[in-house]
Symmetry: C2
DNA sequence: CTATAATGTGAGTGAATATTCACTTACCGG
DNA sequence: CCGGTAAGTGAATATTCACTCACATTATAG
C-alpha cells in the first residue's frame, strides 16, 4: 500500500490530475485519456479519481472551464492595453500560440469530435468558447478598421475566421514538424501573409 | 430472416458500406462509427460486415485509399490544364471544398486523432496524404512564383500550409454555420484575402 | 439440377472501460 | 489522543465494442 502524498491543498491535487490528463491527451489524444491511464500517470488507483471528480466527463468540463478562464484574462488584457490595433493582432496570435504550446491538450479537446459529439453540454461549452473567441476577434478587427489600419470593405466575420484559422494552421504545421520549429516563427510568417491581404 | 439484396457486384456492396460509414462519421464523428451502428445503417447484422472487410480498421483504410484516389486525379487534372496559376489556385480550393462538401466524413477521418493515434499504419497513411497535398500545393505555388504572379520572396512551404489552412477554415466556418452558407462563397472571400497577401 | 461462391444471421466471447462500494490509511484540529 | 475528513485501495460490475463461428440462404454457372 503506497503512502499517500498529503500536504497538498485540494486545488493542487486537482491541478496534478489536470496536468496529467492534459499530458495524456497531448500524447495519446482524447481517446487515449482513459481512467486507467490517468490513474497510472497521476500515481493512484483508478477509483481514486472519483474522490476529486464526479466523472471523467466532469474532469474534462472542469479543464475547459478553468484553463480557458486564465487564457481569457490574458487576451482581454492585450486588447485593452495595446493601442496599435495591428500590433494587437500580432500580440494576440503570439498569446494564443504560446498558450497552446503550453497546453496542447486543450487544443485537442476543442478540436476533437470525440468530445464534441455525443455530449450536448460539452458541445455547447466548446461552441461557446469558439464563438466567444470569434466575437472577440471581430471586435479587435473592427477596431482596426475604424483606425483605418485594415481595409474598410473587409468582411469582419471572414477576417476573424481567417485569423482563427491561422492559429489552427500554425499549430498543425508545428505538429507536423514534430514541434521542432518554434511556433512563434511559423506564426509570424503566416501573420505577415495574412496582414498583407487585409491591411488598408 | 430478411431477404438479401443481390444483383450487386462486390464493388457496389462495398460502396454501400462506405457510403453508410461516411454518413455515420459525418453525423456522429469517427468515434460514432461502431460496427453495430454501421450494420443498422447498411441494413444487415454486425457480423455481415466481415464478409466485406477484414476489420473495421480495414474499412477505414480502404476508404482512405479509394475515395482519395478519385480526388487526387481531379487535382492533378486541374493543375495540368489550367494555364493561369492564380486561376489554378482558385480552381483547386473549389475542388477541395466541393469534394469535402460531398464527403465530409473524409475530412473528419483525416483530422481525427482517434484514428490518427494508436494505429501506426493508418497514421502513416494519413501523414502521407497530407504531405502529398502539401507537396502538390508547393509545386503549384512555385509555378505561380515563376510566372511572377506571386511574390518572389514568398516562403513556399508557409504559403502552402496557409492555403491548406484556408480549406480547414472554410470547412469549420461552414460547420459552425450549420452548413447553411455555401462553401464556395466562404472560400472565395477567404481566398481573396489570401491572394492579396501573397500575390506579386 | 446441382455445386459453388457470395452474402447474411444469431449467438456468443473476450477485452476495454467507466463507475461503485466497502474498506483502510494518514493527517489535523480540538 | 480522539474523531472527523480527505485521500487512496482492491475488488466487483455493467456496458460497449470489435470480432468469430457454425449455420442458412440466394444467385449463378456449368
Amino acid at each position: 500500500m503506497k503512502k499517500a502524498v498529503f500536504f497538498q491543498t485540494p486545488e493542487s491535487r486537482k491541478g496534478d490530475i489536470i496536468t496529467s490528463a492534459l499530458k495524456i491527451i497531448d500524447q495519446k489524444g482524447v481517446k487515449g485519456l482513459t481512467v486507467a491511464r490517468l490513474a497510472q500517470e497521476v500515481g493512484f488507483v483508478e477509483s481514486a479519481l472519483y474522490r476529486h471528480f464526479k466523472s471523467k466527463r466532469d474532469l474534462v468540463s472542469f479543464i475547459l472551464d478553468n484553463i480557458l478562464q486564465d487564457a481569457w484574462n490574458y487576451l482581454a488584457e492585450v486588447e485593452e492595453k495595446t493601442e496599435d490595433s495591428l500590433e494587437a493582432l500580432k500580440q494576440l496570435i503570439y498569446l494564443f500560440l504560446s498558450f497552446l504550446e503550453q497546453f496542447p491538450g486543450i487544443f485537442k479537446i476543442i478540436y476533437s469530435d470525440e468530445i464534441y459529439l455525443g455530449d450536448e453540454e460539452l458541445q455547447d461549452k466548446i461552441d461557446g468558447i469558439i464563438s466567444e473567441i470569434v466575437v472577440f476577434l471581430k471586435k479587435v478587427i473592427q477596431k482596426a478598421i475604424n483606425q483605418k489600419k485594415l481595409k474598410a470593405d473587409l468582411d469582419v466575420t471572414v477576417a476573424a475566421m481567417h485569423f482563427l484559422g491561422l492559429i489552427y494552421t500554425a499549430f498543425s504545421y508545428w505538429t507536423i514538424k514534430k514541434r521542432r520549429v518554434p511556433l512563434k516563427k511559423i506564426s509570424s510568417e503566416l501573420l505577415d501573409q495574412y496582414l498583407e491581404g487585409v491591411k488598408a
